[in-house]
């Protein structure tokens, strides 16, 4: 009987499935990505015979946008609590089982989609993946484990003040994305913890299993991949016929907040702070996301990882104002956000903001040397093959491409695509993404900064960090 099933899986199903092949020529990675439908579930397979291990990423086409008001963080909690218990096993038994095999699990929940990843030794794929499938189908979120999870979550959130940078990020997100569906972090909040309950988690798991569209990304030796196909399509409890829902946010069309955002400056006072966290950025509407590669070049030129970025050059190299500064403009399918992140001593906050403002103005107007832009483009092209070095990173790129509806070819062609951008293209993109008059500026630091900020920048709104927990 077992042999028969194996025969069907190996020889029949691939014939029935749709197979799409994309080859990674630009990176010289010798990979051939295979896409195939097995019983209504799409598998994306990245063959790799080098190591006796497997990497699997389960993609779900819904995320934190499925959380109701006052239940923010529910989806994120759902995935965190998958190992909390089932009708058959206690949390302790599940963890011990998976960790005994050395299995690692992880994942993330964004507003638009979620993923859950698993890796382990291919020789152990049967028992370990069967346990993962058991968790998807039978997790029941026991009350005692849920109670402990909530206590831990509350402590973590209330103590975020111990990490000034994380606090700055959290507050900035809420203020810069205010009045959008993306305002609240996908992670759980204090309100979310209060309302988290077993019933709603069970309902949500059922919803994810039965309704939400899924895709499975696998990198492993072929034999392990075939085993994974068989186990996942049979034992994970997914209703593959009905699982068609794809989250789409129609915020732009329906919201009254679809207005140009105004410049705002906020100060969030923290007692005894000797260094201020500065965040500058804004919400990016779907209509503004025209070219994701150009967005990446623009933000990298402004504040990418290297010392050659405009902000790093001006703030750190030329003035010694900060240890680090970065910028990003990050697109999802239906929205995006931009941010500039830095920190500096209290005495330098105004100067740092002023420098950032000037850099934005100069780069928007093309007041920089073209060779500097070319350097950024070469840096991005040089970094590109590294994206394919680790299999989990490679799989997540494929997943993101599928999520936004981009052909895989665009991933591999990235160096060619960006080599064609002109100085004018990039300047206009920066102007579009970082217009000063639309920026939300958040300073998390000493209360004593209020007077100086007001004097220099006009209106400053003072907020209590506790409102953002």
């Amino acid at each position: 009987m077992r042999y028969k099933i194996f025969f069907i899986l190996v020889f029949i199903i691939p014939i029935l499935g749709t197979t799409i092949r994309a080859t990674n020529a630009n990176t010289n990675a010798n990979y051939e990505v295979v896409k195939e439908n097995i019983k209504n579930l799409q598998f994306v397979y990245l063959p790799d015979e080098r190591f006796p291990t497997y990497e699997i990423v389960f993609y779900f086409a819904d995320g934190a946008l499925s959380d109701r008001k006052y239940n923010y963080g529910e989806t994120s909690s759902l995935f965190s609590l998958l190992t909390a218990g089932t009708d058959k096993y206690k949390q302790e038994e599940i963890n011990d089982f998976l960790e005994f095999y050395g299995v690692g699990i992880g994942g993330d929940v964004t507003h638009e989609y979620s993923y859950f990843s698993v890796f382990g030794l291919d020789k152990d794929i049967e028992p370990t993946l069967k346990m993962i499938c058991h968790l998807f189908s039978k997790s029941n979120f026991p009350d005692d484990e849920l109670k402990k999870f909530k206590i831990r979550g509350k402590t973590t959130i209330e103590n975020i003040i111990a990490s000034p940078s994380a606090l700055g990020d959290r507050i900035f997100r809420e203020l810069s994305l205010q009045d959008t569906p993306y305002q609240k972090s996908a992670d759980i909040s204090l309100d979310g913890i209060k309302n988290l309950n077993r019933k709603s988690l069970n309902e949500k798991l059922k919803y994810f299993n039965k309704n939400v569209k899924k895709r499975v990304y696998v990198s492993a030796p072929k034999v392990a991949y075939l085993k994974a196909q068989k186990i996942i399509s049979k034992e994970c409890g997914f209703d593959l016929k009905k699982s068609t829902f794809i989250r789409k946010a129609d915020f732009t069309a329906n919201s009254n907040s679809n207005q140009i955002r105004k410049y705002q400056l906020y100060l969030v006072p923290i007692a005894n702070s000797t260094q201020a966290q500065i965040r500058i950025g804004r919400y990016i509407y779907k209509r503004e996301i025209a070219d994701i590669d150009l967005m990446q070049v623009g933000s990298e030129f402004l504040g990418g990882g290297g010392f050659g970025s405009r902000l790093m050059q001006e703030l750190r190299v030329d003035r010694g104002l900060t240890y680090g500064v970065s910028a990003f403009a990050s697109p999802q399918r239906d929205y995006g956000r931009s941010a500039i992140t830095t920190s500096t001593k209290n005495e330098s906050v105004n100067e740092a903001i002023e420098v950032i403002k000037n850099v934005l103005a100069k780069t928007s107007e093309g007041q920089y040397e073209e060779k500097d832009l070319k350097k950024t483009i070469k840096l991005l092209a040089g970094k590109h093959p590294f994206n394919f070095e680790k299999r989990d990173s490679y799989l997540r790129q494929l997943m993101y491409s599928d999520h936004i509806g981009q052909n895989y070819k665009a991933i591999y062609d990235f160096p060619n695509i960006i080599s064609k951008y002109s100085k004018q293209d990039v300047s206009l993109e920066i102007k579009k993404l970082f217009p000063w008059e639309q920026q939300t500026i958040v300073v998390v630091g000493s209360a004593s900064l209020e007077a100086e900020l007001k004097k220099k920048w006009g209106k400053v709104t003072i907020l209590d960090y506790k409102n953002f927990l």
Partner: protein, 515 residues
């Protein structure tokens, strides 16, 4: 940028950094133990390698022949349960003229290269009034040299599609690049230029002080966990070079002079005090030619051996006093932390002893994963008292600490937790250690090992650390034997030594502690 202190990672990356080199060695051990993968030398491969050596060897370069027996091709690796096919083909050479050690391996999977330069100098060599000098010098290495002047290093690196960074620890300073393979010669040129002829330009020198002071605020002065860590190491390592913070004291950073740094550079930055590791899409023969071309004429340092002979004296690093200093019993720091965060610090072990390896396995049993002993007991058990807990085998070349880091739950009182620790620790070993938990640790290491091998960087760090700590890039094989001999009883015995009577330091940070 430019620094990756081990300490800051503690609260974030768990035990990866505290025993990174060790961790990978453990992994190798595990996969050796599993008998899934056998490490036998293929005769034909060995012959081919010898042939290749004959062509590669130049008068100026000595190949360390022991490495040839390792000859396997990463590029041909197959996941067919044979260790030989996934083993590392690392070749070791030494430039005879100046003593530079070179580790090379080919991996043509992608057109990329990881390039590491280990300098055998860390903050423990600094001396009075010079705290932070090693780290400061690390920053200044990006500020221009004779051939490639100010602001050129990063600029040229980026123009060639490469990224560069560095980190300083108490024992070493490491510079690393991730580059397209086409940029290899450019990086050799840049790296050899700054090894030989660093500019230390006055203007950049003063500006970089401001940057480091900002970095200090970010990591320590404005960070509750950073403050706590600094205080803990100062007291636990009091009177030893390991008690001085790697980033340095503010006064020393402000007052250090260019000439002091110049002398420090001249003393320690030399090919005979460095290890070069290049892993990736390279041709070994061509790469060796290039290394010889760019590094061959850099003079060795005559002072370094003499200076290090004095500063490496084991006595300098011994803990002071037979037992824990009284002041370490309950240190309280006031800072912005809503709930208490703590360190429990035991005296540990230097890297490389048998006890050290046992302690590493013990640390995993105690805190690696949700099913580990301390996590179950204090975080996820029936009556949790902590939000998180981790145990680190936090060891250096000359000494080490065994650290428990944790954060209390809101409702828990610090004194209650400490009392419970005192009361319960005598039971830890018998409750935690079994054949099952030892085997589980081995299995976890094996998976992590394969994960590390996926990248050139992972391989470079594995062999680079082996070479750095033991002057032998293949030292892990000796460690395998050591680890192989460790039994459940060994783990139990060391556990009892630590948790059945040894005094510990207790350090906490909380907003309600007295100012």
């Amino acid at each position: 940028m430019k620094e990756k202190f081990k300490i800051m990672k503690i609260m974030i990356i768990m035990r990866v950094v505290s025993s990174f080199s060790m961790c990978l060695l453990c992994l190798l051990f595990l996969y050796s133990c599993s008998h899934m993968y056998t490490n036998k030398t293929n005769k034909k491969d060995a012959e081919k390698s010898s042939e290749k050596n004959a062509k590669v060897n130049m008068n100026e370069i000595e190949e360390i022949m022991s490495s040839v027996s390792d000859a396997n091709k990463m590029k041909e690796a197959k996941a067919d349960a044979n260790i030989e096919k996934v083993n590392l083909d690392i070749r070791k050479f030494v430039l005879k003229k100046n003593g530079l050690t070179i580790l090379l391996a080919e991996n043509h999977h992608l057109p990329i290269v990881s390039y590491y330069t280990y300098f055998k100098v860390g903050s423990r060599y600094e001396g009075k009034g010079m705290s932070g000098a090693t780290h400061f010098l690390e920053h200044l290495m990006f500020k221009g040299a004779k051939k490639y002047g100010p602001q050129q290093f990063d600029s040229i690196m980026e123009e060639n599609g490469g990224r560069s960074n560095a980190y300083t620890s108490t024992d070493s300073t490491v510079y690393h690049q991730a580059i397209p393979s086409a940029a290899l010669e450019t990086v050799l040129d840049l790296e050899s230029d700054r090894m030989e002829n660093l500019l230390l330009e006055e203007k950049a020198f003063e500006k970089e002080k401001s940057v480091i002071l900002e970095e200090r605020k970010l990591r320590y002065d404005n960070s509750p966990t950073g403050k706590l860590f600094q205080k803990m190491t100062e007291i636990m390592y009091k009177g030893t070079p390991y008690g001085i913070p790697v980033i340095g004291y503010v006064d020393d950073i402000v007052n250090v002079q260019r000439d002091d740094i110049k002398k420090y550079f001249n003393k320690f930055y030399a090919p005979n005090n460095a290890v070069l590791v290049i892993i990736g899409d390279i041709d070994i023969k061509k790469t060796l030619d290039l290394v010889n071309k760019y590094y061959g004429n850099i003079p060795s340092s005559k002072q370094v051996e003499k200076t290090k002979a004095l500063l490496d004296n084991d006595d300098l690093y011994k803990f002071q006093g037979k037992s824990m200093p009284a002041e370490a019993e309950n240190i309280k720091i006031n800072a912005n932390s809503n709930t208490p965060i703590f360190y429990i610090a035991y005296r540990g072990e230097k890297i490389g002893t048998k006890r050290y390896y046992v302690m590493d396995i013990l640390a995993s049993i105690f805190s690696a994963g949700a099913s580990s002993y301390l996590v179950k007991k204090y975080v996820t058990g029936d009556t949790p008292t902590l939000n998180s807990i981790s145990l680190y085998n936090y060891s250096f070349a000359k000494n080490g600490l065994y650290l428990i880091a944790g954060e209390l739950l809101n409702e828990t009182k610090l004194e209650d937790f400490k009392n419970s620790w005192d009361k319960n620790q005598v039971n830890f070993c018998k409750e935690a250690i079994s054949d099952h938990t030892v085997q589980k640790t081995k299995n976890q290491y094996m998976v992590a090992f394969f994960s590390a091998l996926e990248t050139n960087e992972g391989v470079a760090e594995l062999v680079g650390n082996s070479e750095f700590y033991f002057n032998d890039h293949k030292y892990y094989k000796k460690e395998l034997q050591e680890l192989n001999s460790i039994t459940t009883k060994d783990v139990m015995d060391v556990c009892k030594e630590i948790f059945s009577g040894q005094k510990y330091g207790f350090f906490s940070v909380w907003e309600k502690h007295p100012k």
